[in-house]
């Protein structure tokens, strides 16, 4: 009798149970994320992709509000927006303009880095940078006429900025402000401040690769920020060269000569201009990543370091105890300060292994 099998009813129940079990297993292997999914908002701002990810709360509004704040600052600080504070200063023809506290603070930082870099970092490069176009996708981006650059060069010089309290004046009416090299960081700081004020305990701000970690990572582990390979992508190249670990509310910013560039007649023109020449800075650095408390400093430092070149940059970074990772165009990686850097290892058979 046993060979004949199981009775009809048992058979039926067994099949149903088995099917149900299979379905249960199938559905449980869903999108894997049983934990609360972080809220992430992304927007195209500052001519790049900006995102805010909030891990610690269900409050969607925080992330959206932070991005709205970003857009707000963009309107205030962009030289291409007609009624921004920067445009007002630029268009004042040498007269005094009153700006908001934040903009004044930003200008103060800009002046600081101008001085520290001995002019290598200069936010009055607007007259020259307006001649260059690195953002459009057109095939025929061209280097501007050297004579045009020469004509605009005299207007460059951060000593032209006269700042007292909230009043700003450009001594040379031809001088133009371009805060592109420092605004992202400044805005990221403001966004981080906002989130912290709102009581967010764990969040991540990413403004086109400029990272600010807010609070502590969930679970207590340090934040791990991967450094994208600053050298051009090639067959078999790794996506990241390594990662840095940071804790708390910290900025991890990068400047590189391969982020925005174009090639014309065999010459490569990248977007970090040397204020002394009006042309892309000649440097042996492909990229540098610095870990700083404030992102505005991070931006100023990294932009400055690219223009300084690896040797002078190292000196500055070591002297000021700044944790950083420098990548030279020949692929050499140098670290400074007590940066918690972990390079990516590639095993012999080409397998990509990010762990030790």
């Amino acid at each position: 009798m046993g060979n004949r099998g199981i009775k009809l009813k048992t058979r039926g129940i067994a099949s149903v149970v088995l099917l149900a079990a299979s379905l249960a297993v199938l559905t449980s292997c869903g999108d894997g994320d049983a934990r609360d999914e972080p809220i992430r908002k992304t927007e195209f701002l500052l001519d790049t992709v900006c995102s805010v990810t909030v891990f610690s709360r269900d409050d969607e509004d925080c992330a959206a509000e932070a991005l709205a704040l970003c857009a707000d600052y963009e309107r205030r600080l962009s030289r291409t927006v007609a009624d921004s504070e920067v445009s007002k200063i630029n268009g004042a023809g040498g007269a005094e303009t009153t700006v908001s506290d934040e903009t004044a603070a930003l200008l103060e930082r800009a002046l600081y880095y101008g001085a520290v870099s001995e002019g290598k970092f200069d936010v009055t490069i607007g007259g020259v940078s307006a001649l260059w176009d690195f953002s459009s996708d057109t095939e025929d981006r061209a280097a501007p006429n050297p004579s045009d650059i020469e004509a605009a060069l005299p207007s460059v010089g951060f000593e032209n900025i006269e700042l007292s309290g909230n009043r700003v004046r450009l001594k040379d009416p031809a001088t133009r402000l371009d805060l592109g090299g420092i605004a992202k960081g400044f805005i990221a700081d403001k966004m981080a401040e906002y989130l912290t004020e709102q009581g967010v305990e764990s969040a991540l701000i990413d403004l086109g690769g400029n990272i600010v970690t807010v609070g502590e990572k969930q679970g207590g582990a340090p934040w791990k920020v991967g450094i994208r390979n600053p050298l051009p992508a090639s067959e078999g190249a790794e996506a990241i060269i390594g990662s840095v670990e940071v804790t708390g509310t910290v900025s991890v910013g990068t400047s590189g000569t391969y982020e925005r560039f174009f090639v014309q007649d065999g010459t490569r023109y990248h977007h970090i201009l040397d204020p002394a020449t009006g042309f892309p800075a000649r440097t042996d650095l492909a990229g540098i990543t610095a870990v700083t408390e404030k992102s505005v400093d991070g931006e100023g430092i990294t932009t400055m370091c690219v223009i300084l070149g690896s040797d002078r940059a190292r000196v500055y970074l070591e002297q000021n105890d700044i944790p950083a990772v420098l990548v030279k165009t020949d692929g050499t990686v140098i670290t400074t300060g007590d940066v918690n850097y972990e390079p990516v290892s590639v095993s012999k058979d080409g397998d990509h292994d990010g762990n030790q």
Partner: protein
């Protein structure tokens, strides 16, 4: 005696054992795999052709990669928010185009292959536990 070829009962003890064993195997396999099967925006897209590494690209950056082998595959990485980000094969010259018909992949561990072109596109990572990328 001609009942030899008749089906008999649809479910027997041996069947249940077989099915249970296979299910257990599959569940164990699924558990092993799902360690990496998490949505991770720090993941990489790893492309191999004929076993050799062709390139590794971050999943967070929108990209279009054209792979030339015996045939051509056009792989598109669509970056964006969690629910938008995905990797798919947008076009191919291989016969059958199973790779194109394949659903887009999003999670670590998932992969799309093109057999005629010996191509494999997989999403790695989640293991590296990277929170963000700076560039």
């Amino acid at each position: 005696m001609t009942e030899i070829n008749k089906p008999g009962n649809p479910i027997r003890r041996a069947d249940i054992i077989l099915i249970a064993a296979l299910l257990i195997l599959a569940t164990i396999g699924a558990a092993l795999v799902s360690r990496g099967g998490v949505y991770a925006d720090d993941a990489d897209v790893r492309i191999t052709v004929d076993g050799a590494l062709y390139g590794v690209y971050p999943i967070g950056e929108a990209r279009e990669i054209v792979v030339q082998g015996n045939y051509e595959n056009r792989i598109v990485i669509e970056a964006g928010d969690a629910d938008v980000m995905q990797v798919r094969v947008a076009g191919a010259t291989c016969p059958g185009k199973d790779c194109v018909h394949h659903a887009p992949i999003r999670l670590g561990g998932q992969s799309i292959v093109c057999l005629p072109n010996r191509l494999s596109v997989e999403i790695t990572g989640g293991e590296r536990d990277i929170d963000a990328f700076t560039y």
